[in-house]
């Protein structure tokens, strides 16, 4: 009972500590939001501000806030890089030899995935790390990672990415539940709020907060799923090397910190 309470406290602490950055962004948003309404008034530009465009203003404030704090930088960079520069840096699919060397088919079979999973190597410098396109079950590995990490470590990384394919349904289910929760809470909050501008800020902030928590959960799930098939050693080894290279070790909006992930995976080593 005592251990369960301590574990629950740990989860709550994790949540509060991890959302620190989000709270910072929320504060910044409020400041920027107030500036958006006050600064244009000074030179007599009040006519630009239309109350029905409040969503646009709040959105702009959020984007500015994220840019200033570097939040969502990595996934945004990957998205922009793959969409805008996809034509220039064409990824190549794994050769049959590579599929067998890295044991992709074995991992897919061991996870019980019926659909074909394709692995691509991309030379795009904007893509800093491997990622999975869950809609078409394609995994993209940066060329730099292929030369930097040994085969056994890459196999662990592939285990994690294929884990995303395996657990994508759970992630989408969580997203649906999260969206329902946000709408419900916003409605409830809206009934008692003095202004719908405040409700809008509350809704957007809650959305990003929920997205962060669900994304961490998704990453942890993929780590465990990968470790179940390839063992946790390879992923731990990759995370340790990334830490050594000075990769950011704080909790981002989409991923838990490297130290947290190493600690979790190390529990599976016994």
């Amino acid at each position: 009972m005592k251990i369960a309470s301590l574990a629950a406290l740990g989860v709550v602490w994790d949540y509060i500590y991890g959302t620190f950055k989000i709270r910072r962004i929320l504060l910044l948003t409020l400041v920027l939001f107030s500036l958006l309404f006050t600064v244009p008034v000074l030179p007599g530009l009040a006519v630009w501000l239309r109350v029905d465009l409040v969503y646009v203003y709040v959105g702009l404030a959020y984007v500015t806030g994220f840019c200033m704090y570097g939040a969502f930088r990595s996934p945004l960079k990957t998205l922009v890089g793959s969409v805008l520069l996809g034509w220039k840096f064409k990824p190549r699919e794994f050769t049959p030899d590579e599929y067998s060397t890295y044991g992709v088919t074995e991992i897919v079979n061991a996870m019980g995935i019926a659909k074909k999973v394709r692995v691509y190597v991309t030379p795009n410098p904007w893509i800093g790390g491997p990622f999975t396109n869950a809609s078409n079950n394609r995994i993209y590995l940066p060329l730099k990672w292929m030369s930097k990490f040994p085969r056994l470590d890459i196999r662990g990384v592939l285990g994690h990415e294929i884990g995303h394919v395996k657990t994508k349904r759970k992630f989408f289910r969580d997203l649906a539940i999260g969206a329902g929760g946000i709408v419900g809470l916003t409605y409830f909050f809206g009934m008692y709020s003095i202004s719908w501008v405040v409700v809008t800020i509350f809704e957007l902030s809650l959305t990003f907060l929920v997205l962060t928590v669900l994304s961490w959960k998704n990453e942890t799930r993929a780590d465990s799923e990968g470790a179940r098939v390839t063992g946790p050693e390879a992923l731990i080894s990759v995370f340790e090397q990334l830490k050594e290279e000075g990769h950011r070790d704080d909790r981002s909006e989409t991923h838990p910190s490297l130290s947290d992930r190493i600690a979790r995976l190390s529990l599976l080593l016994l």
């Binding site: 930097k148 040994p150 063992g231 340790e240 290279e245």
Partner: protein
């Protein structure tokens, strides 16, 4: 000597040593001068035995160490257990030499 002439820097083998644990394990095996088994390395370097095994797999795959399994009584046990002896190869010496040389070249360039 220009860095481009250092074979193991160019072919990426030296990059395996970017991992601190792998570098430590290889250095330990070189300094020991005789084969060591997983438990010994794990205790000496404070690394989990399973992580040691993984790093040994990587080093062996790249030909930086050689390994051999033997049944042997260790740590005063009454029965024989399977131990994995590991020792560095000549290639590992050359890789370390290349790394040292590249550091020297880099320092000269910086100064």
């Amino acid at each position: 000597m220009p860095i481009m002439e250092l074979k193991f820097i160019v072919d990426g083998t030296a990059e395996l040593m970017m991992h601190p644990a792998r570098f430590q394990i290889l250095q330990y095996l070189r300094e020991a001068g005789e084969p060591r088994y997983v438990d010994q390395i794990a205790k000496a370097k404070g690394i989990h035995p399973r992580m040691v095994s993984h790093h040994l797999d990587v080093l062996e795959e790249q030909g930086l160490i050689e390994c051999k399994h033997e049944l042997q009584k260790v740590n005063g046990s009454n029965r024989e257990v399977a131990v994995r002896w590991s020792w560095p190869t000549d290639k590992s010496e050359k890789v370390i030499q290349d790394i040292k040389e590249s550091v020297k070249v880099k320092r000269n360039e910086d100064s």
